[in-house]
């Protein structure tokens, strides 16, 4: 017969597939990693090739405190997701808010650093190659922090409105994967900009 062939599902077949949210987030992280790789390569390639000052060693100081803030936000978001998995919404909200605060502190640190670089040291994106690569790489990462904070804030608003439930743990976890990625990238950026490029 020239119509639909059908089979009946076999209930005994044990059929489990990976969750699509996690899979897609890992793919997005792979794509983002490729973008960051190109910026990191450009940064490394142009170290010491600026024709005019200021040079990194004159103006850069490693933002140790704000780095600790950002990295510890990975821990707080992990604790938040664990609390949500246990169904403890109050603890979840507290840790989530802590993550937001730590991320915001990091952004404040970057803003401070940029303000000093621009107004005190006179380094802008078109001063020299160092300025171009520095603001692009750190700015690209900062942009990802901002996007992450916006997403975290949306979840925070929903939490305060009381609509985040235990069954949303998988979504919160997918978002936390992105946040872990943003933190991990900072380790690379920090190493490249403040250690190798110094």
């Amino acid at each position: 017969m020239n119509t639909t062939f059908m089979t009946t599902p076999q209930p005994e077949l044990n059929w489990e597939l990976p969750a699509r949210g996690r899979t897609a987030m890992f793919c997005l992280i792979a794509a983002e990693s490729a973008i960051f790789t190109i910026f990191v390569v450009a940064y490394l390639f142009y170290i010491g090739k600026s024709l005019t000052g200021p040079m990194p060693k004159d103006v850069l100081t490693a933002p140790i405190f704000y780095t600790i803030c950002l990295l510890s936000s990975s821990l707080t978001i992990h604790l938040a997701v664990s609390a949500l998995r246990r169904g403890n919404i109050g603890t979840f909200g507290t840790w989530w808010l802590g993550t937001l605060a730590l991320g915001a502190a990091f952004l404040y640190g970057t803003a401070n650093e940029w303000h000093r670089l621009i107004y005190v040291d006179g380094l802008t994106i078109n001063t020299n190659l160092f300025g171009t690569t520095y603001y692009s790489l750190v700015g690209l990462h900062g942009f990802h922090v901002i996007v992450g904070l916006l997403c975290l804030s949306i979840v925070m608003v929903f939490t305060l409105l009381g609509s985040v439930k235990r069954e949303h743990v998988e979504r919160a976890e997918v978002l936390s994967l992105y946040w872990h990625f943003v933190d991990a990238v900072w380790v690379v950026v920090f190493t490249v900009v403040y250690v190798i490029g110094h």
Binding site: N2, F5, M6, T7, L13, R20, A42, F45, I125, L129
Partner: protein, 557 residues
């Protein structure tokens, strides 16, 4: 049976006003409709890109011809290349991937239907934005001009100094936007393939088309992202006064080439893997044999993707790299011929001893096999650095990559059109017109691109808008241009065939080819939900198992 209910439902649906239908198409999140939107969109741009090619060929038909100005010629080759790669071949392949993957893995839609629609509209916007430059860009030639920096837009030509106005920005931004669309689609394809397969369809039982599209999607993620990064850097240079590619401030023009070709060469495999996917479905069905060496085919595809990430600088032999880099990229370029060769041998082995049906899809598949082989051979020639130093940036290169893209990818895609047209439209195409299309296109293709190698060997560089008589190039250029008219006639026959068959073709039925993959198990065109009952599969050819319950494949796999 429930299909009868489905078809009655279809007939009884009251006809809606045109606006309502359009609204449905614009707001759709159905993977089949989005697939068709991608394909229709790509066909429109195929005509536009083809007209641009024809304008260039008419300009070059004889020496000292003044059909178009040099400036317009520059715009034509830039727009032709950009259009054909980003707004024809990629949307075509994404369209088929969108349409076929859920049907082949027994799913009801892609993993993220709304992301799917979003990706399509981003791509669509990118193309329209690029063409708006003809009206809106204030480029080098006064008000309104299109990008004219070549499709790989080498620095420092793209800097504000040499490309004032906005023509280059139209190029950058349109590729940036459509690039986001491509990454979205790639993420969607991977998530669909990994997370949406019907029960029983393990990775080793997926149709090869699905496997190859999965590898393609991984490559899109790894290849398009560097292009996105490079485009952002170019925008920083052009708008914020950055120095990434500014040689006067210590920047490097060569690093743009690296960044571009880190995208550019894997992109070739992004385009060719889905073409391989079509061939891997068409050849077995029309040879009446299961594919030969399924695991080797999958391994070869993964291998191609892997090596494909490390061959990019063979586009850059002529810029003068050191001999270590030259050696590395020569060797990787040679190495990639091995998995590609495995694929060609496996298709031949599938045909060997089969009962070959020379229907239009099979004709195009066989054309693909011959032409892609030759394209690969000239590729190996160009992959040898000393040979490349003589012929880099000549018409030999242009002939080589058009052999890949037209002779290989476009032929495979035409085969796919004829093969899946009955499924998508529910109607059978005209076999006679299909054959006419095939022969017109074969003649046109070989007239144009076989003879294009020769002026290249005689030293004719690419992208020149005219040439001196008496260099031995004249006759070859005349023949090349004549071939274009045969190809254009072929495209007209193709379009006529699609339209005629859609409105007046015979009803195709759900399985006109007696094929073996799941998309042929549902009605043509499939209902919105694809499968009334989610299928369960036990082998690589689930439909064979159903048609031959006494001799199913899973007994042997």
């Amino acid at each position: 049976m429930s299909t009868d209910a489905i078809s009655t439902l279809r007939v009884e649906m009251p006809s809606r006003p045109l606006v309502a239908k359009l609204h449905e198409w614009v707001t759709t999140v159905d993977h089949k409709r989005l697939g068709i939107l991608y394909i229709a969109y790509a066909l429109v741009f195929l005509v536009i890109g083809g007209i641009e090619a024809a304008i260039m060929r008419i300009q070059l038909i004889r020496p000292h011809y003044n059909f178009v100005s040099p400036g317009l010629f520059n715009q034509m080759f830039t727009m032709h290349g950009t259009t054909m790669i980003f707004f024809v071949v990629m949307p075509l392949l994404f369209g088929f991937a969108n349409y076929l993957i859920p049907l082949m893995i027994g799913a009801r839609d892609m993993a993220f239907p709304r992301l799917n629609a979003f990706s399509f509209w981003l791509t669509a916007f990118g193309g329209i934005f690029l063409y708006f430059s003809f009206l809106g860009a204030n480029g080098l030639y006064g008000a309104g001009s299109a990008p004219d920096v070549g499709w790989f837009a080498y620095a420092p030509l793209t800097s504000q100094t040499f490309s004032p106005g906005h023509s280059t920005d139209f190029w950058t931004l349109s590729l940036l936007v459509s690039g986001f669309g491509s990454i979205g689609t790639a993420i969607n394809i991977i998530a669909t393939v990994l997370c949406m397969r019907c029960p029983g369809m393990t990775l080793g039982k997926m149709p090869l088309l699905v496997w190859l599209n999965l590898v393609m999607a991984v490559l899109v993620i790894l290849a398009i992202s560097p292009l996105t990064a490079a485009q952002v850097m170019l925008l920083v240079d052009r708008y914020l006064g950055g120095h990434f590619f500014d040689t006067q401030a210590g920047g490097s023009a060569v690093i743009w080439m690296h960044f571009f070709w880190i995208f550019g060469h894997p992109e070739v495999y992004v385009l060719v893997l889905p073409a391989f996917a079509f061939i891997s479905e068409i050849v077995p069905v029309f040879s009446r044999k299961a594919i030969f060496g399924y695991p080797a085919m999958v391994a070869a595809a993964v291998c191609i993707a892997f090596i494909g990430m490390s061959v990019w600088a063979h586009h850059m032999f002529t810029i003068g790299m050191n001999s270590n880099a030259n050696t590395f990229f020569v060797l990787t370029t040679m190495a990639i011929a091995v998995p590609t060769g495995i694929k060609i041998f496996n298709w031949l082995a599938t045909m060997w001893g089969g009962k070959i049906h020379f229907k239009t899809p099979m004709l195009f598949a066989i054309g693909f096999l011959f032409q892609f082989l030759i394209a690969g051979l000239t590729g190996i020639m160009l992959g040898v650095a000393p040979f490349n130093w003589h012929l880099g940036n000549s018409y030999f290169v242009v002939a080589h990559f058009h052999y890949v893209i037209v002779g290989g990818i476009l032929f495979a895609t035409f085969g796919a059109f004829y093969y899946w047209f009955p499924k998508m439209s529910g109607k059978m195409y005209s076999e006679a017109l299909g054959r006419l299309h095939f022969w017109l296109f074969v003649i046109g293709f070989h007239l144009t691109f076989d003879f294009m190698h020769i002026p290249g060997l005689l030293g004719m560089p690419r992208r020149i808008y005219t040439y001196e008589p008496g260099r031995g190039w004249d006759t070859w250029n005349l023949i090349v241009t004549i071939g274009v008219f045969f190809q254009a006639a072929g495209i007209l026959v193709f379009a006529g065939n699609l339209l005629r068959s859609y409105f007046r073709g015979k009803t195709a039925g759900s399985d006109p080819w007696d094929a073996w993959t799941l998309e042929w198990s549902t009605s043509s065109p499939p209902p919105e939900w694809n499968f009334a009952v989610v299928p369960v599969v036990k082998s690589r050819r689930p439909l064979w198992d159903l048609k031959h319950p006494s001799d199913p494949d899973w007994k042997y796999e």
